[in-house]
Amino acid sequence: MIIYLLASILVAAAAFVVRGRRTLYAVGALFYAVQLALLTVLCCGAAPQSQAGGLFVFDAPGTLFYGLLTLVSIYAFHHSEAYLKASDIGHLRTYSGLMMLLTTAIAGAYFADNLAVTWIFLEATTLCSAGLIYYRRTAPALEAAWKYLFVCSTGIAMAYLGILLLAGASHGGSLGYAAVGAALPGANPLYLKIAFLLILTGYSCKMELFPLYTVGVDANFAAPAPASALISTGLVNAGFLAILRVYKLYAATEVFPWVRGVLLAAGVLSLGVGALFLRRTNNYKRFLSYSTVENMGIAAIGLGIGGAGVWAAVFHVVCHTLVKSSLFLQMGVVRQVYDGYRINRLGDYMRINRVGAVGLMAGMVALVAFPPSPLFVSELMILSEAAATERWWLLALLLLLTCIVIYSFCSRMIRLCYQPNQDQLHPSGVDRALSWSALSLLVAALVIGFWQPALLQRIITEIATL
């Protein structure tokens, strides 16, 4: 792991100093060669599980999410090349270097086997993301970067206080997940509750979950679309995995039912906020960001329900990664055509770019969980589990909010594809190859909707086992 981190950081550092675009792309290729090399080592099981004296672990959740991260990051880098071709080399190399550092920091958070190490890497993602958000150097970008930096820093400081409380509860031993998990069952319940609240609140800014979801929405709005694809999936997954690992620590404690209740409340509130703001916003990127909030709400509800809901939550997050990154990359192409994201003015996309429009419509079908969407599988499992545990109020609320989401998605996407366009088209035209490329991610998600490989099921079962 240390070799991987050093190699990735060195290659990313090289991206900051290169002089030409070709060299920059070569550095990018080298960076992703490093990522693929690690992925190959992980898939072959050629590395010992515990790494760097127990600070990292090559386990099932880390490997699964790292595979997804590598995939999305390669797509994002490839799309950035075309999306930012008009940018000057100085900005482009900063952007590329930060994308690589963000990918590395997220990977570090995935593989961390220690509460403090997870926290350090999540902190590092804040720095890299803030740079990407400020890429355009405009006043809104600066405002979004400032808000992101401020709220994430405050949240992450709160999470750190929670980690310190867990460290106190584990009687000053190690902060490794296994050691803390073993020490928690005998700890003071109120102490554990405060620690969980602080950690959940702090990490909610990364997972784009209630209460600190707003900064994620602003970040996705201001960052270039390919960077948004990475932030809204890879980084969100890092927040999810961090919360999932803490959730599993609490499984053996007496406050676990309370923890699940808190996650249920946070999930329902996120779903509610996401559903309502999907109706309100007038910007397609914010629209997709609120969809992320809504989907993370569903994942949190899965964790809150427990049982099969945990499996469904992990599966939901895995599939959401593929669908949402595809849609953000499609939005990058939309911006090439219209030079903006205003919902009330854009239209006629089906005529202008049929492949892109089909990609958006198919993405809509996937996100609102119509069969054969993989999200249909996970949402059905969560609804079934809610019914099985006789939470009828939750079932009714989920169905109501899902209806609002479906209506919002259908009306907005159909409007983009078919309503008369009211904006001037951007002279750069359409790059249909990018639309095809983004569509391929969606196809992968739909294949998982039809058929879940036994290996994927086994890995998710291993992750969901408490």
Binding site: E123, A139, L142, E143, S153, Y160, L164, A167, L175, Y191
Partner: protein, 209 residues
Amino acid sequence: MILPLILLYVISLVYLAITERFRNFASIMALQGWLLFLVALVRLHAIHPAELAFIACETLLFKGVLVPALLFAVIRKTGISRVRTSGSSQFRSLLLSFAALVVSVSVTYLVADASADRLFFGVALYALLSGLVLIVMRTRIFSHMVGFLTIENGVFLFSTAIGVEMPLLINAAILLDILMSVLMLGLFFTKIDRTIHAIDADSLTRVKD
């Protein structure tokens, strides 16, 4: 020795809630930096001397000197001196601060856990709530930064309670301090004021639905 330092620290938190002059904010941050330096010296005397020296130097230089200097520089550059457009009256801020103090004391009493120093836990909780009160009740961005620094100081204080066994934790807290505080203060100092001309959080409204 620790108790008077902690008491002084709590008084500085109460004073933060009622003061309206930014120079006082910066001075209190400097005072807290020095108090944390002394607390770290007294509390961590058992750890390795090299680690103690590093932590003490960092606390003094960074929290006691650099951050207050940056805050004073921001005050000079922006020309703002007080919370002119306070979101609440001083009395309400004081009331909220006392409510935060009561909550912190109550929670600390209820926790009654011997695994962490209860005094440190209670004060850290009060610092967290005080910082949040500052962020929520004040409209000036400068006050928000002070709120964040207050939370950070509280976290650092609590890390000294745990860090006798795990100095790594204190080092991680230092990492948070240096990276985020300098970046935020620097961003405010060089970009926010110059590009957006915003000193009130209310004027940061370009990014919205």
